[in-house]
């Protein structure tokens, strides 16, 4: 196994794309570094399974993972997203061992795998690391809260606009996924997504072709989301972004 420690030695300068790793001080990072295993994260890799022990947590450098809850009866819905601004393993951060929800890769990317036990131990040793990761859990809560709001009050088109803002967490302006997939994430009908995408496209906010959606007008999408986008992101900025120079991206 090649660890990031060894890579770092060669490269002298560490440059993580993950915001949490970036936000850590050198001391905290040093606790984790020797155990970070670079790994390709391909769709549809499952990172955590509901009601199952979490052996490893994943820190994303690129790509996106969805946290979904299952409705008894087979229907799923997305309750959170993890990109390069975060990591999986909220339960581990909170001292638990079982995941409450399934988390899987939704857009391929890469990142690091870290044994849950190492993370727990490092948090034990570093107060600053605890502070950062607890702050991150708060942002996850804010994200879920914001999703409750969107699902409760916003129309499909607004929710779709909100969702498409995940492109904040990706590189480039194109998101690769199918309408079917979006439908599951939003908990709506596939055909409904198709129609809503056309509406957004008609307004010049996106361009949608087979399996891909290009974001043309970021600001316009935010407005289209009618307030359902923003609160969670503001919370991230407040809690974690202050450690970072580069948030929001671009």
């Amino acid at each position: 196994m090649i660890t990031m420690r060894e890579i770092a030695m060669d490269e002298e300068q560490l440059n993580f794309r993950n915001d949490l790793l970036q936000a850590m001080g050198p001391q905290e990072r040093e606790l984790l570094l020797p155990h970070l295993e670079p790994i390709a994260l391909e769709v549809p890799l499952i990172l955590e399974m509901e009601n199952s022990s979490v052996h490893d947590v994943y820190i994303l450098e690129s790509g996106l993972a969805s946290i979904v809850a299952s409705f008894p009866g087979g229907r799923d819905i997305e309750v959170g997203i993890v990109g390069r601004e975060g990591m999986t393993g909220a339960a581990v951060i909170l001292g638990g061992d079982q995941a409450a929800n399934r988390t899987f890769m939704q857009v391929s990317g890469h990142g690091f795998k870290l044994p849950a036990a190492v993370l727990s131990q490092a948090m034990e040793e570093s107060r600053a690391l605890r502070g950062l990761l607890f702050a991150y859990v708060q942002t996850l809560l804010a994200q879920t809260t914001s999703t409750v709001l969107a699902n409760g009050h916003a129309k499909l088109e607004e929710r779709l606009a909100r969702w498409l803002m995940v492109h904040d967490r990706t590189d480039g302006a194109t998101i690769w996924l199918t309408h079917e997939f979006l439908a599951v994430m939003l908990g709506v009908r596939r055909a409904g997504v198709t129609v809503a995408l056309h509406l957004l496209e008609g307004k010049g906010l996106i361009r949608s072709t087979r399996r891909q959606i290009a974001i043309l007008n970021r600001q316009g999408l935010i407005e289209e989301a009618h307030g359902s986008y923003g609160a969670a992101e503001e919370e991230y900025r407040r809690l974690i972004g202050r450690h970072l120079a580069r948030w929001p991206p671009s």
Copy 2:
């Protein structure tokens, strides 16, 4: 100010109705006890305000508090509930100082007020207390997650049935509140609540009269909720209930 410490000295035996206080070991409780100030919690007391510092947290012995998120544009929706199974101040538990959402009393009761600084200090000192409260934060997350699911996939009548199960956290089988209030909590129209209540009443699950709703058939309500009730409660049992003999109530 009369603290619980002094009361305890008189009474010899402590008997808290709050499940967290009950689940704590004697040592952890001892850290908090001298600072717990008994307090009446009347509707519509605001316990936390969004984007404001949290000076005190509240540990409920009876009554119910709602955690609501605001949709820009004035519409609110409930994202969590706190009763005698929990406490306010999730942000404080996670080392923060600002609340993300508003929390207010929804059914009058009583409980204890505890300075946030004391809680932080106590958590600093006791590993067991940290463990318990982090577990509680996990249950809050589970609750919010479950709400996403319900808002996303469940019909009004099902969501109402799910909501009415809050009576788990109250004493007696009657809940006192108006249709208007329920409508805000569920993020739906007042008239819709009226109709849905009649449907449930028609099935013999509840009896609804002015300002009050009596639960007649707990199990029936759970079935009516079609799976949107249960997951969060199971999580509570797993994470915290094991410390308690008396969960679920009755």
